[in-house]
Amino acid sequence: MGKESRNKRGQGADPRSIQQRSVPYLMGLVQCAVLVLCITTTGLAADIAPTRFIAPNGMTVLVLEQHFLPIVEIHALIKAGAAQDPPEKAGVANLVASLLDEGTTTRSSRQLAEQIDFVGGSLAVHAGEDYTTASARTLKKDIDLGFTLLADILQHPAFPKQEFERVRSQILGEISSDNDDPGHVAMKAFNQLVFQNHPYRWPVNGTEETLSKITLAEVQSFYTKEYLPNQVILTIVGDVTAEQATTLVQTHFGSWKKGAVPYRAVKKPTAIDKKTVQLIEKDLTQSTIVIGHPGISRTNPDFYAVTVMNHILGAGGFSSRLMDSIRDKQGLAYGIMSHYDARVMPGSFWINLQTRTETTNQAISGVLIEMKAIREAPVSDQELADAKAFLMGSFPLRLDSTSKLAQVLAQVDFFGLGFDYFSQYPKWIERVTKEDVQRVAKQYLDPQHYALVVVGNIAKAKVRH
């Protein structure tokens, strides 16, 4: 929904968004929560108890029955993403993902498209940093086709040479196009400052330089090594019984052979020991500003305290401190938001906004003031109570469609949160105190050592920081 994303340009809105990849973050999971509220409303909680089993070939299968509409979402999470790109070859995982539906051993790219389009369904593949998703969505009557096509692209991609060349040139074009989006340019620069010598350093789709070095053999080898049934969480949500789903999984994925799970090194981003500033000149009327530093991993025990703190600081939309100060009081920006991208390895923390060139310094100062303030003084009882109430109370909204459910279930499994997550989350949020908020603000926010990127009319902006 375009309207929710005030800091991502034209998401779901302008024509180019069709090709646009947005900065991924686990919003769905971060905001996820609250059995307590479910009980007080209706029995949604009971609905979020998926059937889970491990198939003989090691594939994790989750099934959640939803019989209100005759639709089915089949969602595969493959535990391999851009973080597994070989050094100097950023973009391999994305290239593999982009080629899955461009031809299999028995279907051409066009045949795959025609078959799914003819029934009004959709087939989508997306590579992220930590994992890749491939999903099929169909009407109930076409569930067999959905399974057939998804199983085919996951198990039998052919990686035809001409499709490899075409898709690579397409991605190179997208990279050029991304350079017309100041927000994208700023994040790309920011990640390179924060994640030096780290797998999260480069954009998921790679760079001009790395893409041109990737060979078809490397694509095939990444696929062979990473795409194993025991690396996959297959989530099925919709108008299907667990029994039917189990049979379908066996029929379509049963012959997929398990393999050795590749080794995963966990790496922390190097702490920023000095303020680092990068200014990027573009002929624009606004400065796009990104400020931040390394953040936390999803399994950090402080995740919930950080979630509450971040909500008060700048993730809480119109009621956050940053929105109140920078937008509502000073009129400096249309949108401003703070983010902790909690991934498998510690991700980053950042605040982003756009302001007219002349107010660049004022906006940066305003942001730093808020970063300092939440460290120096405890938040008010009211702020704490409101933040918790939102985080707990908005849970059902995070799970109100089949595709959202499929994604969140897969993420809960991926991060090993356990399915009592749905009942535990509110308790974890509820437990957060004012002292916790201040403690994690001091620990995970640093208004002295940070990376600052400004994209815009640098000569006129006269950045002082």
């Binding site: 375009g2 309207k3 929710e4 034209g10 809105a13 302008d14 024509p15 180019r16 069709i18 509220l37 409303t41 209706t42 509409l69 639709i71 066009r110 498209a113 025609e114 389009d117 003819f118 029934v119 009004g120 009407l139 075409r166 040139s169 074009g173 050029s176 350079n179 017309d180 680092t276 990068q278 200014l279 990027i280 000149e281 573009k282 009327t285 939309g317 119109f318 937008r327 509502d328 009129g331 400096l332 920006a333 949108g335 756009q354 007219r356 409101d386 109430a389 939102f390 109370g393 908005s394 059902p396 909204l397 799970l399 109100d400 469609s401 595709s403 640098i458 000569a459 006129k460 002082r464």
Partner: protein, 457 residues
């Protein structure tokens, strides 16, 4: 407090129409009520999850503005969050948030809409807040000054600094000369500067009344339980004026219009718009299927030919919305592959149009397009928000939600010959406006700082 600009809107509406509709067989038919003050209420019971969306749609958008005050509807939308006597400034979103809800608003050419997505047991609260600000909005001068700066930042973000956004804005300004679809929903800088509190007050007094609004609630509700609450909250609001909604039609276009936009960018962008009818014409159904044949899915013609075969476009599409108050645009766009020539893309688009005019689409293509539309009407209901949006739009543009009933039938009745006929009638040279974004290389910086500097400061 978001805007849906014309381009947002066209995209969204098209998607909605195609994705959206109500399947009677699934029992999701809205219950319709008209309150004593003229407000229309549509309630849809969807018990699948304990959530609901509450949306208030006002029949006012940029089409209801006058020259020199472009952006007034959207500016008022922003001011609607600045408080009433009962719920002072800042309290609206805070209350919604601490009740676990999300609120926002959007403005289009034909409507302004406000929504709260909430847990089902908080619907009453959202209704109370919306009823409260339907009258008695406090318009404060200094709040207005600050909010105007916010809106100007929004304009910079979406139009000034976004090459494609800027081209869309120019396309509408060229295709519509006298009709208000000429100006952008966000408004021009000069008009934003010229706006006064009196303008806002007049706009509010004229258009924000129950008889100019539609309330839509979709979710885990019981209509017969909710209706008394709605009556209690909204019926005390007096009926307002009946604003004039009819506008003089844009005169017929007589000859191609063509323009260039040159600015710093990396990738060229081509748009081609054709003036076409809205829902009130029988031809709108064939145009809708035509759009689907051209651009829905990777097997569609534009993708297969321009992206896959000729490789001259990074992305390509056709957009049409029949849910518009006045006749709008059927437009094509291509994000040009940097390795290709703009001329080649334009020719390729012309070729696709000629092909449609010279031969009807195959039965297979036609059936695919119809299947896509029908499947989408089921998928649409997976989201209460979009379901409600579709109903709100249909009401706001004057089509009425009941048109959905006949929509699928009309879509099914479209023939390959119909598609060929509308392509010949509307996608003509004299009826088209072509806009091309020509990227310029980066300007050298005005003074001397390095373009990228790193280090301590």
């Amino acid at each position: 407090m978001q805007t849906i600009h014309y381009h947002w809107r066209i995209h969204l509406l098209t998607a909605l129409l195609v994705f959206g509709s109500i399947s009677v067989s699934l029992g999701a038919e809205p219950s319709e009520y008209i309150l004593s003050n003229g407000m229309k209420v549509l309630l849809v019971e969807v018990p699948k999850a304990p959530v609901a969306t509450v949306q208030v749609w006002y029949k006012v958008g940029s089409r209801n503005e006058v020259m020199g005050r472009a952006g007034l509807s959207h500016m008022l939308e922003h001011m609607m969050f600045k408080g009433t006597a009962r719920y002072p400034k800042g309290s609206f979103s805070k209350i919604v948030r601490k009740n676990g809800g999300i609120d926002n608003a959007f403005t289009g050419q034909d409507f302004t809409a406000y929504f709260e997505n909430v847990a089902a047991d908080r619907v009453g609260l959202a209704l109370e807040l919306e009823a409260d600000r339907m009258q008695g909005l406090l318009l404060d001068h200094s709040e207005f000054q600050t909010e105007r700066d916010v809106v100007k930042e929004e304009r910079r973000l979406r139009s000034e600094d976004d090459p494609q956004g800027a081209l869309v804005e120019a396309l509408f300004a060229q295709a519509f000369l006298s009709h208000p679809y000429h100006w952008p929903v966000i408004g021009w800088f000069a008009d934003l500067d010229a706006m006064s509190l009196e303008d806002l007050q007049r706009h509010y007094d004229t258009f924000y009344s129950p008889n100019n609004a539609t309330l839509v609630v979709v979710g885990d509700i019981k209509s017969d339980v909710l209706l008394p609450t709605i009556k209690r909250l909204f019926e005390p609001i007096p009926r307002g004026p009946s604003p004039k909604q009819t506008l003089a039609p844009e005169p017929e276009q007589r000859g191609e219009r063509r323009f260039l936009l040159k600015r710093e960018a990396q990738v060229p962008f081509v748009m081609m718009g054709f003036r076409v009818p809205n829902y009130s014409s029988e031809d709108s159904y064939a145009l809708d299927i035509l759009e689907s044949v051209l651009s829905h899915g990777k097997s569609s013609r534009l993708y297969q030919n321009l992206v896959y075969e000729q490789k001259n476009s990074l992305s390509v599409g056709a957009e049409y919305s029949l849910i518009q108050t006045d006749p709008g645009l059927f437009y094509f766009y291509s994000l040009v592959n940097p390795t290709a020539k703009v001329e080649a893309v334009e020719e390729a688009l012309h070729r696709e149009i000629h092909r449609l005019q010279n031969e009807p689409p195959s039965e297979q293509e036609l059936q695919r397009a119809k299947n896509q539309v029908e499947a989408s009407r089921v998928f649409e209901q997976d989201s209460n928000f979009r379901h409600a949006m579709l109903l709100g739009q249909l009401e706001s543009v004057g089509a009425g939600w009941r048109r959905l009933d006949q929509y699928i039938e009309r879509i099914r009745a479209v023939t390959a010959k119909d598609i060929q006929r509308v392509a010949k009638q509307y996608l003509t040279q004299d009826n088209r406006t072509i806009g091309i974004l020509i990227p310029l290389p980066p300007k050298p910086p005005e003074s001397s700082p390095a373009t990228a500097q790193e280090g301590k400061s």
